[in-house]
Symmetry: D2
Subunit: 259 residues, 4 copies
Amino acid sequence: MPTPIRVTIWNEYIHERQNPTVAAIYPTGIHGLLAEVLSTNDDLIIRTATLDEPEQGVSQAVLNETDVLLWWGHSAHDAVLDETVTRVQQRVLAGMGLIVLHSGHFSKIFKRLMGTSCALCWREVGERERVWVVNPGHPITAGISDCIEIEHSEMYGEPFGIPTPDELIFVSWFQGGEVFRSGATWTRGLGRIFYFSPGHEVYPIYHHPDVQRVIANGIRWAQPQEGNHTTPRHVPVDQAREKIIAHGGTVHLADGQLK
Amino acid sequence: MPTPIRVTIWNEYIHERQNPTVAAIYPTGIHGLLAEVLSTNDDLIIRTATLDEPEQGVSQAVLNETDVLLWWGHSAHDAVLDETVTRVQQRVLAGMGLIVLHSGHFSKIFKRLMGTSCALCWREVGERERVWVVNPGHPITAGISDCIEIEHSEMYGEPFGIPTPDELIFVSWFQGGEVFRSGATWTRGLGRIFYFSPGHEVYPIYHHPDVQRVIANGIRWAQPQEGNHTTPRHVPVDQAREKIIAHGGTVHLADGQLK
Amino acid sequence: MPTPIRVTIWNEYIHERQNPTVAAIYPTGIHGLLAEVLSTNDDLIIRTATLDEPEQGVSQAVLNETDVLLWWGHSAHDAVLDETVTRVQQRVLAGMGLIVLHSGHFSKIFKRLMGTSCALCWREVGERERVWVVNPGHPITAGISDCIEIEHSEMYGEPFGIPTPDELIFVSWFQGGEVFRSGATWTRGLGRIFYFSPGHEVYPIYHHPDVQRVIANGIRWAQPQEGNHTTPRHVPVDQAREKIIAHGGTVHLADGQLK
Amino acid sequence: MPTPIRVTIWNEYIHERQNPTVAAIYPTGIHGLLAEVLSTNDDLIIRTATLDEPEQGVSQAVLNETDVLLWWGHSAHDAVLDETVTRVQQRVLAGMGLIVLHSGHFSKIFKRLMGTSCALCWREVGERERVWVVNPGHPITAGISDCIEIEHSEMYGEPFGIPTPDELIFVSWFQGGEVFRSGATWTRGLGRIFYFSPGHEVYPIYHHPDVQRVIANGIRWAQPQEGNHTTPRHVPVDQAREKIIAHGGTVHLADGQLK
């Protein structure tokens, strides 16, 4: 059996403690429900982390033991410290997978990795959403039929301020007339990133078996890969693969660093 | 005749004033030479800006009057303030083109827009470089033969820590045995970005006519486009394109902002 | 003023002559209406061609004088000869733009250039379609608001059997619940290809000003580019850019051709 | 343990029987050597097939039992029947992986799937090649250092007439001064395609352990995925997911087929 994937589910964990509707749907928090559900997969080892924990739940030690990080935030994006964001970004670039959920589109870590606004249109009236597969054959779609029906959802609509995805996986239809690129992937450094938009907290979307399945598929897809991990470096002239002779001036020291 | 493109050439302008080799090659600065050369194009209006100017040369007023910004920095990346970077990034997302030159791969603005390390391998011994066209038909390659020969260049080698380019335009061959993705494009928001690696300051690379031509081509390619400029926004239920009825709880105020 | 773009609008021209509904909407054929409309653009020179003309309307001479070819076919895809398809394909690879309209998704030329099934889901009941811009800033979207409303349309739905587009421009919403990647681009050789799905012939979709505008934008985007046009070739050892010495056996003749 | 991957190594098997140099390097054929080497992997089940077998070695039965097909051809591309190509293409679109080796860039099946010329520059003088990893972290690069050194190789050079790869994995450096995109992937339908250029038959390139490793990695990467396999189809109005009412004329029969 392959080595299990170590998953950390991060949640700002605020609306579940403030808003009765949300509390009723997620009495143990969104992270609590997801942990319970994902733990039924033998190949996943689940832990959770929240904003109010030491080092905002994602210390270097936690990150070092995490293969794939799930990120759920909404009202407290600004409370996440820049140094926290930098720590997570570095770990993604070093190979950790990252799954950004729903309102996490506006998290500092997602904007940091994308370089764009990550803005979108929205409307919260509990309308119908259909999450259509547009990339059949992609492992994130395993076990999903042609679309996922979500009876009550928040509308997220185009334009979505993201870089062109490496892979577009899902496109959503909304009852009110909009569409949205609701599942997409990118690679940044050695790390794989999957954004998946369903999950507004006032509806029981993470109770939906297909939504749970997509997240589990996403974790497997985003796990660190065994590929080449070469680090960029200075290559002195005597280590050049062809024999060459140095020529001209320099702005560098002998070790390649700038003077 | 089409409206001219307003170009601002930004240079940290340090090595040209400190290093005699560089000063001899660029007595008026790299920005000075590029301004002189690019000004011969009737469709370009050229201005320059340097790090030591007010607001680091890129005030909001300057940016607002800039269609395409060229960025040359090497030893003073850290001196560029985060607020300067944010101002430039916002203008790129709003449609300004950005051409990042050579050591600008490590500038804060490029790293901000890419989300990655932007690191690479390097060796400064004046070896031969050939910049091969791998995207024939792309307008940035207009007037360029199968490759550009640069007699003395700094080696930049793979792995190059960038996101997958939207378009790969050039790949370089180096005498010492390496290759490098030396010309590539990305779109971020409404803005087009072109990275072009030749240009190490201790060799007269910006005096090379083909290098000059690629930069001029890049400016034309990167200029702001007339396309759709919709801004993401809250869409209230009474503005939905299909008639729908609100349902369920909320974490938003009536105007769509989070409570 | 720039050189005008020479456009050829190709139509199989069958349903307009057989089906009274279609005839009433397009009395001069779909090509006739598009020619009339597009001719109002000063930068476009319009000609039309139909399947029943000599060499199926796209002789080498016609292709040589065409910068951008529009393709409309539906019931007679199989009547297009393989040699016709090859002739058009070669011209696209050499730089001619190609705009494939609606049911042209199943044309031989589109399938030839894509390499895939190009199959899709469909339903012809005159439902509402909204064509959303998902790539703001792209020149094909110039002058288009956030979406195009089409009151009666044929549903085209995912999965759409195409290679990942180089650029995804539009995604459509359908009243019956589906979504579709309705505007997308690819480059093949030197030629640019734009597929745009609205246009079912039993509804007056090409009378819609926004649909006309997208097609005009697409023509301008797809026109041949001035970029590098190097032809792959044998490079004899004495033409190598670095001095090298031949070594080992061979399966080639001196001119590089296989024995 | 996961289900083994069923691999078929196809070879036109001509030069090994005609050219003494090639015969000395591959006494059992290129397919013979690759079969011997790849069989040492527990997770692969290897069979071979050659052009002179019934149905050109790739009958429907063989294809149905093949998860990943390797393709090596050079002098007999034209001998492969169009119906053979169609059979292989359909199986790729249905999910079979395809690994195209070296001169297979000009095979009918590769050109069919790419839609382009697949032409390139070449020179057969046994020069040095370095195959650089430009996509660290990609599973095809597992176990490979920063580059693969090949002492004697045929030069393949840009421009390479392919569509933009979904993923660029390797770029080669050649002693004579050229570069080449020597490893790249595409998805067509449900099938994954990997092109890998090293392998000219007059040098012992497939005896190189790193080259063997890349091919094994490629097979694992290209194996069929469990993802969604929805087939495009007509969706009658009474199966629409939202209630809608038919409107307007038609060019279809009740079952959705064209009249």
